[in-house]
Structure formats: C-alpha cells, structure tokens
C-alpha cells in the first residue's frame, strides 16, 4: 500500500514539475469591461477620438516564452463610435467600415518577441474591410496581484494608414480633411497570465 501511494505522489509531482518546465499553455481571459480599443484621427487638424465597444481576444502567452505565444483579436466594426450621434451614424456606412459586408476586423499574430522589462513586439496581420496588412504592435505588459488574482494589463499604440484599409472612400479619401494616419490605442485587462 505504502509504496503504491508513494509512487502515485511521486508521479503527480513529476507530472507537475515536467508540466511547469515544459511551459504549460496559459490561456488568458480578457476582461472586456476593463479593456479598451480606441482610435484617434485628425479632421482638418482637429484630434478626434473614438472607440470600439465590442471586441474579443484569444490570447495564449507565457511572458517568459513569448515566441510560443499567440494573440488573436476580433473586433465588431459596427461597435465603433466617436460618441456623437451624427458621426456615429456614418461609421457603419459603405465609405467607412461597411459593416454590413465586413462586420469584423481581425488581428492574428505571427510572431511575438520579448524585449525585456515587460515589453513585447507583436507582429501579425491586421484585416479590416477585406484588406490585410502586416503590422508590428509594441506592447507594454504590467501585472498586479499574484496567483489566481493576478491581473495583467497590456497597453500600447500603433499607427495605421486608413486608406490602406479603404476606410473613408470616395469623397472622404481626401487626406487634407481626414488624415490618413490613424493611431490605434489599446488597454487590455487579462487574467490567468503567468508572471512576467
């Protein structure tokens, strides 16, 4: 009896240790209410900010083994808004996001590089309105709490060119009115991530 118990305990320990050494697949959970994906553009020099209210992410990242990590996003384009009813009514229309035809914008990582100090560089493909482009997204990761209560916050921003994604077509393609450059900013709150 005793040897059998010992061996089970030993086996469990070995599995646990091996698991830890192999780097278990950590799947993180996004807390949408504490997360934000926003964008900033300039209209005739005037900075205007908007945000997406609905998005989801599948993130598996061990901060100590970023190269094995994966990040995938899907953003509900119809949830984009600037907070003013007149402008928000335009956003889903064909010249802008054409949400009827392209309800989702997606991001799929292809490589994650750790830069140390909680900094990462996530390369991947951003697809909006049927157009796919390579982007490199700098991410700063910070953590509070420990164990199951640990909360990780990923923040960052990157620039895209709206015309590469056909956002603002026709008469709106004029970049002297709406600048081509769009700053995308995000703050993502995640649970279940291993320590940095």
């Amino acid at each position: 009896m005793k040897p059998f118990l010992m061996s089970r305990l030993t086996l469990t320990l070995i599995v646990a240790v091996l698991g830890a050494l192999a780097g278990p697949v950590f799947a993180q959970k996004l807390a949408p209410a504490q997360s934000e994906i926003g964008f900033a553009i300039k209209q005739m020099g005037v900075p205007v900010e908007g945000k997406f209210k609905k998005f989801d992410a599948q993130i598996t990242l061990d901060p100590r083994k970023p190269q094995d990590g994966k990040v995938a996003f899907s953003i509900d384009t119809a949830s984009a808004g600037f907070g003013s009813p007149e402008t928000d009514a335009e956003v889903p229309k064909a010249p802008w996001f054409n949400t009827a035809k392209f309800p989702q914008a997606t991001f799929q990582s292809s490589a994650i590089k750790g830069l140390g100090g909680g900094k990462f560089e996530v390369s991947g493909k951003l697809a909006i309105k049927g157009q796919t482009r390579d982007v490199v997204v700098p991410v700063q990761l910070t953590q509070t709490g420990t164990g199951a209560a640990a909360i990780s916050t990923a923040t960052g921003s990157f620039a895209i060119k709206r015309l590469e994604f056909k956002i603002g077509e026709g008469e709106w393609a004029d970049t002297s009115m709406v600048a081509n450059e769009v700053q995308v900013k995000f703050k993502l709150t995640l649970t279940g991530m291993a320590p940095i």
């Binding site: 209209q43 005037v46 600037f82 907070g83």
Partner: protein, 183 residues
C-alpha cells in the same frame, strides 16, 4: 445743394475704418455660412465649412479685441447733432454690438469644446478648451450661439438702418466718417 455732405468733418481713424469694414464682411460671411452649414448632412463640405466657420469666428474674436483696444486709445469723432434719444440709441447699439462681437465667437468656441472638437486655428494652432468636454453642456450651449448671432444681426440691421436714415433722410454726412476716403 447739400453743403453738409461736402464739408470736411472729423472722421474715424484709418485703422478703425479698415477694421470696421473688414469685420463687417467677415461677420456677414461667417453668419451666412453658419446658417447654411447647420442643415447640411455629414459630408466633406460640411466638415470644411464648420472648420472655416470656426477659424473665421476666432479671427473675428481676435480682430474685435484689437479693434476694442484701438477704440479705447483713439477717440471716435464727436456725435453728429441729433435728438438725444437717437444719440443714446446709437451708443447702446454700438455697445451691444461690441459685446456680441465677443460673446458670439466665445459661445461658439465653448460649444465646439464641449462637443469634443477642440478648435485648431487654421488647422495649425490648437486652442485651449475653456469648458470641459460634456455632450449635455454642448447641447445646452448650442442654441445660445445661434440666438446671440441672430441678435447681433438684428443689431447690425438697426445699425445699417440708422446709417441709411442719416444719409438719405437727415443728409448730415454721418457715414462719411466711416468711408474709405473722404470726398
């Protein structure tokens, strides 16, 4: 026939005359654009007109400040002889107009800021917000910009009516004081 029209009379200074006509033109155009643009659907034209209107408004505000400072330093010509109530009405109209030269653009600026669109003068110089971004506040301010502008235009009409009366009824040569050049 009328000697009053040709007699040399004290005139406003050249700077005062230039600012008067420049601002008259700018205010008329800004008012017209303001009325027109507010009914436009969202479009590049609307976006352009809104920004031009704001740039014009801030320019009018700045020039009005310059004009007021000039006026404080340079006495206007003495009143042309007329009944006291008319002198009083003319001065009251001028005073209210000056008040609105400042109030109308300032209320517009506040509306723009509250609505979340800070003004960037000529697309280059970002102006500070003196009210917070607050949609409810913006909706509250909005009608007052229009009301104040309409009040200003009614006073402009009264001002023009007075000038026309002096020219064609009283024939006292009053408007020579504000012409570009003396006859």
């Amino acid at each position: 026939m009328s000697s009053a029209l040709t007699s040399p009379a004290p005139r406003y200074s050249g700077v005062a005359i230039a600012l008067h006509w420049l601002l008259a033109l700018m205010i008329l155009v800004a008012f017209g654009v303001g009325i027109y643009m507010s009914d436009l659907p969202v479009s590049p034209t609307r976006l352009k007109l809104y920004n031009w209107h704001k740039w014009a408004g801030v320019t009018i505000l700045a020039l009005s400040a310059l004009r007021l400072l000039w006026r404080l330093g340079h006495k206007p010509p003495a009143d042309v002889p007329m009944p006291a109530w008319q002198t009083g009405a003319a001065h009251a109209t001028h005073g209210l107009l000056y008040l609105l030269f400042f109030a109308v653009p300032l209320i517009g600026w506040a509306y723009s800021s509250a609505a979340g669109y800070p003004i960037v003068w000529f697309g280059v110089l970002p102006l500070p917000d003196f009210v917070p971004v607050d949609k409810a506040l913006a909706e509250m301010i909005k009608p007052w910009h229009e009301r104040a502008a309409i009040a200003m235009m009614l006073l402009v009409l009264l001002h023009v009516a007075g000038a026309i009366k002096h020219q064609f009824v009283d024939r006292d040569g009053l408007i020579n004081r504000m012409r570009f050049s003396a006859r």
